[in-house]
Each structure stands twice: as C-alpha cells, then as structure tokens.
Symmetry: C2
Subunit: 200 residues, 2 copies
C-alpha cells in the first residue's frame, strides 16, 4: 500500500463515517467527523435545496434537526472519487438515498422514498485524522434513463454529442421552471453510457 | 493589509473571475481560472440539478455547451464567504442569477428568468495564483419570505426555532416530492434575519 493509497483510503473512511453517522442518527459520531479548531467557523453545509449553513454549531444543529425528523434513512454511496492534495481532500460521490416518512397513525411504517443526490465533500487533514470542512449536497433533477448503473455520467462523449446536437443546456439545469426549454442540462446526461460511445 | 486579508481578497478575485468568465461567455478567461496540472483530472463541477462532472476537459466542455446555449446571463453574488487554510480555500456564496431565454422568432429578446443558486467553490493555491478545483452549485428550493436581503440564512436562531417547533426538516430538503411534508428543510430558513447578528 503506497502512502498515496493509504491517504485516499483514510479520506474514504472519513467520508463513509460521515454518512454512517447520519444513517445511525448518531450525533456524537457526527461531531467526531466535523472539523473543529480555528476553521470551525468556516465549516459549511448545503443540504439539498437549502441555502448555505455556516459555522460548526449551525451545521450541527441542522443535523440534529434532520435526525430528529427522520424516521429512517440509508445512504448507498456510488461513484465515490477521492483526490488528495497536501492537507486538503476533495470527495465527490452520488448518494442513493432511501428514506422513510413518519410512521402512520396505526403505527405501521411510513412510506419509503428514494432519491438521488450528488455531493461535494471537502476534508482537512488534522493531527487526529481527516475532518469534514464542507459538505454540499444537491438533488439530481436530470431525467434518468433505463441505464441501471445509477452513477453520474463522466463520459466526455456525452457532452460532445450534446454540443454537436446543440441541445439546450442551460447553466441552471432547467431548475428555474419558467423557461420552456425543458431539455435543460439533463439532455447532456440523458443518454448515459453504460458501456461505450455506440449510442444511437 | 494583513497577509491574511490579502489572501482572502485574492481568493475573492479568483471567485469573481470565475463568474465573470461565464457572464462574458469567455471560455479563455474560464480556462485561466480552472486548475491545471496534476490535479486537473480531479477538477469537478456540479451544475444545478446535474450529476457530477469530473476532469478538467469534461468540465470545460460543459461550460462551452452552456455558453453556446445561453443568450444572456448575469450573476449577482451575495453572501460571499471566504476561508483560507494553507494552500486550499473554501468559498461559499449565493448566486442571484438573471438569465435570458432564446430570442423570439421575431428577433425580440427572450424572457428573463431569475434564479437563486448556492455555491461551494474550492480553490487551490498555485504558483500563478488561486485556481478553481471544484464548483458545486445547487438550486435553493426553500420558499423565500418577504425579506429583501436575498442572502442565505446564517443565523443559528432559525434552526433553534425550527427545532423547538419540531418542524419537519428532512435531509433531502423535501426535494423528493412524494413526501407530503411540504415544510421540509425550508421551514428552517423561512424566517431569515436581515440584520440580526453583527457579522460582516
């Protein structure tokens, strides 16, 4: 195991610990993952669809709130990519989320809902290990095709094709709603490569 | 000017240069902002509502696509916060976006659409200045109140209040749609402080 690989794995573990803490509704475990010290005030989090929350205390409160209002949640991480440079590490991943609504009045389990969120997580190296500096999660609003990979597209050919076709990608991914251009950014990613560039 | 302040300003300028490049549809200017070198493959971008795009070439192609399909776009950045630590810098900000749809058939200007996006931008220090390592933008789906500040909430009291009220914040910010709990994460942020704290 090279030092580089060991570092990458350490960051991966920190990233997994972050999601495990939320999954287990374990605020103490989350406290252990989130950065403390001089940078604590600059810790930031964006929950999907939310504005930015800043400062460790504020971020922790939001998780306490979420945990208190979540009956059940499970993260299946896919497409996890880690890049380490010096004392900073960048993780991008796809959160395949399964979450349960509140229990029914008769006590039965609430309905399960699935969701696709992409995250950018920034970690800092500390004397005690890698700690989360910033988390940004956002909903994937692009339409899915039948491809079962479930991972984010990372094939340059898609963008090339979309460019050639002149599909209407817009910088807001069509999220503004008013704009009739329904294609939006999703066109670029609709036709995901399961295998290769032999697309119709 | 302290070294710290000078650094922060340099990062702010790099962040502004990033948005200026998109606003001016200037791909060369954008090339100059985005990180090159050994980390180029790990450069990542999430456009609002999109999956993750990875690798400098892929990211640049997506911007070329967006520029080619955007008649008009303007970013008013608010709530810009910069934290510098060593060779990494974290920027969070709110992008108040004004964008124009395609021109009408009669040649008149397309309709303008506004949107609120929050961004987490990660910069790396290089010998040539600060360069963008990661950008993650996402739509703010929380309902706005009448507060005209237009900035993201950063007041801990909001979360406390929401906690006390037991509003149904969920980790997906209600973006999954199926879940009838319309309150979602937005409740936490509805009541935004215009001027509460004495923060810069």
């Amino acid at each position: 195991v090279t030092a580089r690989t060991a570092e990458t794995r350490a960051v991966e573990r920190a990233n997994q610990a972050f999601y495990d803490a939320i999954e287990n509704s374990d605020l103490d475990a989350l406290e252990a993952v989130v950065l403390t010290g001089p940078l604590a005030e600059s810790v930031s989090t964006v929950h999907p669809g939310w504005p930015v929350l800043r400062g460790r205390a504020e971020v922790m409160r939001s998780y306490a709130l979420i945990m208190a209002n979540t009956e059940y949640i499970q993260f299946f991480l896919t497409d996890v990519e880690v890049a380490v440079d010096g004392d900073a590490a960048l993780v991008t991943c796809t959160e395949n989320i399964l979450t349960g609504g509140p229990a029914e009045e008769d006590g039965s389990t609430g309905s399960l809902v699935g969701g696709l969120v992409v995250a950018t997580n920034v970690f800092r190296r500390t004397s005690e290990g890698w700690r989360l500096w910033a988390h940004h999660g956002s909903p994937v609003l692009a339409e899915e095709d039948d491809d079962e990979s479930g991972v984010a597209a990372d094939d340059a050919e898609d963008v090339d094709e979309a460019l050639a076709e002149g599909s209407g990608a817009d910088p807001l991914g069509g999220v503004l709603g008013e704009d009739g251009d329904k294609g939006g950014g999703s066109d670029v990613l609709d036709d995901r490569p399961g295998d290769d560039d032999t697309e119709e």
